[in-house]
Symmetry: C2
DNA sequence: GGTATCTTGGATAACGTTTTCCATCCCACC
DNA sequence: GGTGGGATGGAAAACGTTATCCAAGATACC
């Protein structure tokens, strides 16, 4: 069976020879080209392909066709449920389109991100999706240039979440969602707030914080800037943030708003470890509605983002021509749970 | 600036022309080939490349070199923290090696998985990592054939977790870990057990269950087969499983062992919803040590698997020649937390 | 029955790289 | 100062596809 080179799989050439047809015919038979090919020939080709265990070389196809079937996805951290939720959506939509997803993690490092974009661009993906949260002030001309070059050569870029770069974006109602959350909380009796946020300049964090402030303002309340602690955009960041709040004294705080769920969950644990009962002693709310928040105690009030949908939309948005304003921002929804019980006597 | 074809990026040809050198020289200057190239020329080439915003076409390189820089990763569900943890490890190690990861989700469907393997094989990845949990009885000759063909052509396959296919594997101490867990729990006073498991035939589930049984047996205890409920290998599966146990009556059950953490977390929520206090009324233990379990209440006793390490090892194992037995199984560690308090009066 | 018109298979030229080979050039050595 | 040999640049042949032509056979039309 291994008469000549068992090495390095059968090529289309081999299939054509085996089937006794020309290379062109074999190619036409195997991918459904526009050209019609005789049923007998097609059968012979397909048989030969099966017999030789032929697998078309995607790289070769890519260079011949001048187009790949891949989409590149950049996230900050794959293990973070926010990003893995989005990634799942991207992958789902991608393979609905017959596209292959290549994934990379920036670790929230702008330099690394730029480097990855450069590398990934070499892949000539159809689409490049950037889902890390961005710094506004970033002023990243290098990144913008790289992406612009990518688009100039026929690629599509899609961002998830706000940024000030001139590319397609799937907007999430961060400000509006946080605004609605604040109003709702005010509506059920909360008055004295603190917040755990990411670094200033991180658009997601800023938008949510601003929205929350606006929502409070609309209810005649305010978020004291002195009550905003800054820390990492991670579970441990939330934990640390809450510890700061605790050591500064929780006495005149009803509710702590963490700008995302992983932080909120960390905050919950910090509270409990310090002997507080979250929800009773102090309320906590988050943002994202990652799966975990249904299973913590108390279950967490949050603003739901359909993560999977965000991922799918990002791909769609990049793929579908220049749909001008494409359905607007992804709507969010306030989900009240046990971590923010209505305040009695309100 | 856009004199001729601004379309479809600069090619190495263009760079060579711009630099006034031959194609060969340009190629040698840009990738660090063995051949030496005059510093002056190299500089000119590099300058030209920068000026033209040249990005090497990875597909073309792949076909010319006969090898790609990609690794393909198949998981059951990207949003599941178990898999995203492993994926993060794979990606980390991959980009340490300058490799690009393409990711696909099987949704735990064998047919889909086979299809994905076929497609991904076309990519000619250096490595293919399969991390879904497998059915033993699967008898999946088609999958085995496809993977064998892939290896015959120079690819490497690595599985994560047990299976009965003849490929490299990163083994996790599923049985031993569960055994140790059972002994530990017996040691702190638990006597009457129930379990929530996945379908029979799912190796991960089977191994853990068997190990748990063995550990109990070693302590003179037993897991009544009638107390094993079967359900999906997901959070909701755990939730449903626990509901079944609850409706069958929890009276003579001290502790429920869920074969993985997401199920355990679901089980916790089911308990709480039914008015039980997990840890006090009935203890719960899981397996995996996903990040979430530190943040649920009570914190969950589990068997720790270094997920990231598993992912990294899978890639290493595939890459590093035929390291025969390669460091054995990934060690696990029992982590006792609040969901299994020592039983008083023991 | 002769000429247009469709079909459809086959050569062959791309596609953007890398990698042989050659061809020079330069240096040294005796 | 001629010859051997180590550098190093260039032309051209791969790599595995697809797509553009051509040619030849079949069909149809008057």
């Amino acid at each position: 069976m291994d008469r000549e080179t068992p090495r390095s799989g059968a090529t289309l050439h081999d299939v054509a020879r085996e089937a006794g047809v020309s290379l062109a015919t074999a190619s036409r038979a195997i991918n459904g080209s526009t050209r019609k090919v005789n049923d007998e020939y097609r059968r012979r080709v397909l048989d030969a392909a099966a017999r030789l265990d032929y697998s078309p070389n995607l790289s070769a196809q890519a260079v011949a066709r001048g187009a790949t079937m891949t989409v590149a996805l950049l996230v900050a951290d794959i293990a973070d449920p926010y990003f893995s939720g989005i990634a799942a959506g991207v992958v789902r939509e991608a393979d609905h389109e017959g596209l292959i997803v290549t994934m990379a993690a920036t670790g929230r490092d702008a330099a690394r991100e730029l480097e990855l974009v450069r590398t990934l661009r070499g892949q000539r993906p159809r689409v490049m999706i950037l889902a890390g949260s961005r710094h506004t002030a970033d002023r990243e001309p290098a990144l913008a240039d790289e992406l612009a070059a990518f688009e100039a050569n026929g690629g599509r870029v899609a961002f998830v979440g706000g940024h000030d770069l001139p590319f397609r974006t799937v907007l999430v109602e961060n400000a509006d969602g946080a605004d609605a959350l604040a109003r709702t909380l005010a509506g059920i009796g909360y008055r004295r707030f603190a917040a755990i946020a990411g670094d200033t300049g991180l658009t997601t964090s800023d938008d949510r914080l601003a929205g929350f402030g606006a929502g409070l303002a609309a209810s005649g309340l305010a978020l004291d800037p002195g009550r905003i602690v800054r820390s990492d955009f991670t579970r441990d960041g939330g934990y640390d943030g809450m510890r700061q709040l605790i050591s500064a004294g929780l006495d005149d705080i009803d509710l702590v708003f963490a700008v995302n769920d992983v932080m909120a969950v960390g905050a919950l644990s910090a509270l409990r470890e310090a002997g507080f009962e979250p929800g009773r002693d102090v309320a906590v709310a988050g943002f994202d509605d990652i799966p975990t928040v249904r299973d913590v105690t108390p279950t967490l009030t949050t603003v739901r983002i359909p993560l999977d949908e965000v991922g799918r939309r990002a791909l769609r948005r990049a793929l579908d021509g220049d749909a001008p304003d494409a359905a607007g921002a992804v709507p969010t929804e306030v989900v009240l749970r046990a971590s923010t019980p209505p305040i009695i006597g309100h």
